[in-house]
């Protein structure tokens, strides 16, 4: 099987400071990769480079055979609204707060040419259902939603066009623990059912346990360990990973 995404030697610096460096991995269709590490370890920087939000200093990000670092911007933006999806930590960054829930979900459909109002609305209704938002909230604005609902709406808005690769930066970040658990369940169901490939950045080892097939541990911009999630968590090799795992077990 061909990898869906090939990440080769990605490096991104901010002046003299390293954002991330020497990052390489392959992601296969249907695979979920978790990225963990302490604050400032370079997780978001890496994700931005992979998703085309930031330009890496060196390296290649090959999606489906095409290098997204060197491709022309129109092509990259087209990918961003068709094959890719990006779920922001703060739903405000990923939603249009002045647009109804239905309009938020419908936007990607309209962006790729949907021009039938009835069909767009039916699809939006269906997707609200899939993320457990009642159909009668379709005309409400996100500002009338709870944090958990906003995050689920953001997910629906991203998945509606059936992307192949989803980037998520701390998708459960700002939420209460009970809300987090429900969102995780939902995400797991969607990822498995749609056969999505995903890259999920998180502080939370519970998130990777539940969602990630593979795990990458970052520190100071470097990848210090990567492997199958269970292997890395149950038998961490690197001292830093051991610390990370043990500190979680103490919680």
């Amino acid at each position: 099987m061909q990898p869906l995404l090939q990440v080769q030697n990605i490096r991104k610096t901010y002046g003299a400071r390293i954002g991330c460096t020497d990052v390489s991995f392959d992601l296969y269709p249907g695979e979920v990769m978790g990225i963990v590490g302490e604050s400032g370890s370079g997780k978001s920087t890496l994700l931005s480079c992979l998703a085309g939000h930031a330009q890496p200093d060196t390296g290649a990000v090959i999606f489906d055979g095409r290098d997204t670092v060197t491709m022309a911007e129109p092509e990259r933006r087209m990918l961003a609204r068709t094959d890719w999806a990006y779920v922001h930590q703060n739903p405000r960054d990923g939603l249009r707060m002045g647009v109804s829930a239905g309009g938020n979900v419908g936007e990607r459909l309209m962006a790729v040419g949907a021009r039938n109002y009835g069909t767009i609305r039916d699809t939006a209704t269906d997707w609200l259902g899939r993320v457990e938002i009642n159909a009668d909230r379709i005309d409400d604005r996100p500002s009338q939603f709870s944090g958990g609902m906003q995050q689920r709406l953001q997910i629906a808005r991203n998945l509606v066009t059936g992307p192949r690769l989803v980037f998520m930066d701390e998708p459960t970040g700002g939420l209460d623990v009970s809300v987090q658990a429900r969102l995780l369940d939902l995400l797991r169901g969607l990822v498995r059912r749609m056969g999505l490939s995903a890259i999920i950045v998180t502080h939370d080892l519970a998130v990777v346990r539940l969602l990630a097939d593979r795990l990458m541990v970052m520190k100071g911009g470097h990848v210090v360990e990567q492997g199958l999630t269970d292997q890395v968590l149950d038998d961490p090799q690197h001292a830093y990973t051991q610390l990370l795992v043990s500190s979680v077990l103490q919680v």
Binding site: P74, R96, G103, R108, M110, A114, R115, N116, Y117, D139
Partner: protein, 282 residues
């Protein structure tokens, strides 16, 4: 060279100096070459407030020649304060002939309407534009809207129409209804009623749009194809009040509702006063 000159002390012809007019004409040429594309220009201070259509006034000033016949309308009427002031301004600064008759005018500056009478080749219609960016409503970032135009990412325009239907059961946008020009640029036609939208397409006249505060000029050359955005199941309709004009009886013109006394009596009259009068005289 030493001969005494008249009228040179106060104003240059049509108020603006020749360098400024040249700069505006360059912007206009570019705008005509790329129909529907917003061309930046260095808008000048005009001796009137922004809300009065300084963008349109600058475009008119840059197009005007001594032989032109100027008509100025505001919401279809020649006799509102705004229209009268702009007309007087050009009479004083350019000494051009003015008219209220659409057919006699070579340049028509307008706010919020396209005349009912069919325009002809050689006529120029100058629109006053408050907000030139049709995507502004949903995307406030100028860098982003520019990119969206460049890459033809116009899904957002339909989000706006979607919201309309979701809220009102139909596309309720009645003014400044967005259009697509020659299958390429999405454009704000200025706050004309959507009733006027069909007149934008394939019109023999040259249409120029000037936004003073926002410093943008755009254009529709004669016979440009202009399509109003819509959905398959909610097609565009050039709607108007379901009445005839109570003065001239026209059934195919855009009407203003006028309250005629303090008991709430009302009547419908053509918003295009010249058109209504021409029909009465006929």
């Amino acid at each position: 060279m030493n001969a005494p000159q008249k009228n040179t002390t106060e104003y240059n012809f049509a108020y603006l100096d020749e360098d400024t007019k040249r700069m505006i004409r360059r912007a206009l040429l570019k705008a005509v070459a790329i129909p529907g594309y917003q061309v930046p220009f260095a808008s000048r201070e005009m001796p009137m407030p922004y809300g009065w259509g300084t963008g349109g006034v600058q475009v008119t000033a840059a197009c005007l020649t001594p032989d032109d016949v100027l008509k100025v309308i505001d919401q279809g009427a020649d006799d509102t304060t705004n229209a009268v002031s702009i007309r007087k301004f050009f009479q004083r600064t350019a000494d051009v002939d003015v008219t209220e008759r659409t057919a006699d005018a070579t340049i028509i500056q307008t706010r919020h309407r396209i005349p009912e009478a069919a325009l002809t080749e050689g006529q120029i219609l100058v629109f006053q534009v408050p907000i030139p960016e049709p995507l502004r409503f949903l995307e406030p970032r100028e860098t982003e809207t520019r990119k969206m135009h460049e890459l033809e990412e116009y899904g957002l325009m339909h989000v706006k129409l979607y919201e309309d239907i979701a809220k009102h059961g139909q596309i309720a946008t009645a003014y400044a209804y967005p259009v697509k020009v020659e299958g390429r640029y999405v454009m704000d036609p200025s706050p004309i009623p959507k009733f006027d939208n069909p007149k934008l397409s394939d019109n023999p006249a040259l249409m120029l749009f000037g936004a003073g505060r926002e410093q943008r000029i755009y254009a529709l050359p004669p016979h440009t194809k202009v399509a109003s955005l819509d959905f398959e199941d909610h097609p565009f309709e050039a709607s108007k009040a379901n009445h005839n004009c109570d003065i001239c009886g026209a059934g195919d013109t855009y009407l203003d509702e006028v309250i005629t006394d303090d008991r709430g009596s009302r009547m419908f009259v053509c918003s295009d006063t010249d058109h209504c009068r021409t029909r009465q005289e006929a």
